[in-house]
Amino acid sequence: MPTYNLYMGCSVPANYPNYEAATLKVAEKLGMELQYMEGVACCGSPNLRAIDYFGWLLVNARTLAIGEKNGHDIVTPCNGCFAALKDVWYHLKHNEEDLKKVNEELKKSGLELKCNVRVRHVVEAMYTDIGIVAIKERITKPLDGVRIAIHYGCHLLRPKDVTEFTPEVLDELLRATGATVVEYPLWKQCCGATVLPVNEDLAVRLAHDKLKSMKDAEAEFAMVVCPACGNQLDLQQFGIKESYGVEFNLPVLFYPQILALAMGMSEDEVGLGMNRVPADPILCHFTSE
């Protein structure tokens, strides 16, 4: 059974335990052993990178070094954590001087980073290590015909030389459930989550534009693989209602929730009640069968 270091970050467990639970349950069914990493904390978010580059390198190098000890890949369900770990790994892999500086600090707690560890998004590990064929074999309630728009997330896709992630991974994963992947013009656009602290109006506008683009393309709901994007597209629909007077009613689900439902798990098992916009379309699909 493939075994992984699970880096959960701080946002998923605090804000989206439904995402956490669905991820664990799906992984178990797929035969993936996810082990929570010991002694780790937050990735610091892009804000830490912005204000304290060296501190950001250090805290993430520490996480990488802890993961490196047992030789298993690090996987995470959060695009923010993914980007932080990938970025720091990439930088230190290509900058010996900084790697040396970082290791001098890590030595104090008995750690050393060689940059051998591999970091991936947890759904990427499902894609590469389990594979579409094996995932399809476990689908008992296919989502035929349900139209889903994917929001990939900026920090999952870009910069490509760092993230090494292609959008097709999510497309194929979603299609494996039988759903239809909706194409929409603003598929690459940011959800606005990062600018929330400094300019809320702008953040709301970006979420509005994104959701409108999905809705115009006749999406029945949206899929995300990041708690920040999820928050911004799901919860922000209430903010949009206030500022724009528009109600999109577009449910936003995390990929493992969608996969779990297609594997026959119940809505309670994946905490569907915690998604803010009620996820009726997907449930109607099941009950109408």
């Binding site: 946002s11 639970a21 780790v40 830490l48 900026c154 910069p159 990062t194 602290p197």
Partner: protein
């Protein structure tokens, strides 16, 4: 065309004239020496980055101008600009730059430089404090929700002490402590 004969004022230009005495010729080098600045000289001012940017329309300084301002040495204007903090870090500009300029990464570097000088928006300063005090941005409060979903009430393996210790010694400590 009588008014074009009147040559009393300064010549009409498309952009505000730049005060040459305020330029910092070392700024370009400074950026080049940062983690992502290697390619900044390769910018040929095509504005592709600006065309790719979803929010440039509301900015005084568009992404291609920020890069140009770095090359010209307009250090003060760039580091005090609201643009560098409003950037979504969505990497759309960087992805499309035909010259391989790491536009978004450079904006991160600019924030780092601005932070060194204490030029940080209050909201971001607040986040620095949160990180230092809590060791994470979000803390589990509704542990019953986790239990309902068959999760451990406390996040397994979580340990924030070392994280806080590290940031106390780096710049975050100064930013959060220095008020």
């Amino acid at each position: 065309m009588a008014e074009t004969d009147d040559k009393t004022g300064p010549p009409v230009t498309l952009i505000e004239p730049i005060d040459m005495t305020k330029l910092d010729p070392n700024f370009r080098k400074e950026i080049q020496n940062m983690p992502d600045g290697d390619e900044v000289n390769a910018c040929f001012a095509c504005s592709t980055c600006t065309a790719a940017c979803p929010i440039a329309n509301q900015w005084k300084y568009k992404p291609h101008q920020l890069i140009r301002m770095i090359l010209l040495g307009m250090r003060e204007e760039v580091l005090s600009s609201r643009e560098i903090w409003e950037c979504l870090t969505c990497f759309q500009c960087q992805e499309r730059c035909p010259q391989g300029v790491r536009v978004t990464d450079i904006i991160f570097d600019l924030r780092d430089l601005a932070s060194e000088e204490g030029k940080i928006p209050d909201a971001v300063k607040f986040l620095a404090k949160e990180l230092l005090e809590k060791g994470q941005l979000y803390v589990v409060t509704a542990d019953w929700e986790r239990e309902d979903l068959d999760l451990e009430p406390e996040v397994p393996g979580l340990s924030t002490d070392e994280f806080k210790e590290i940031l106390k010694r780096t710049r975050t400590g100064k930013i959060a402590g220095g008020e």
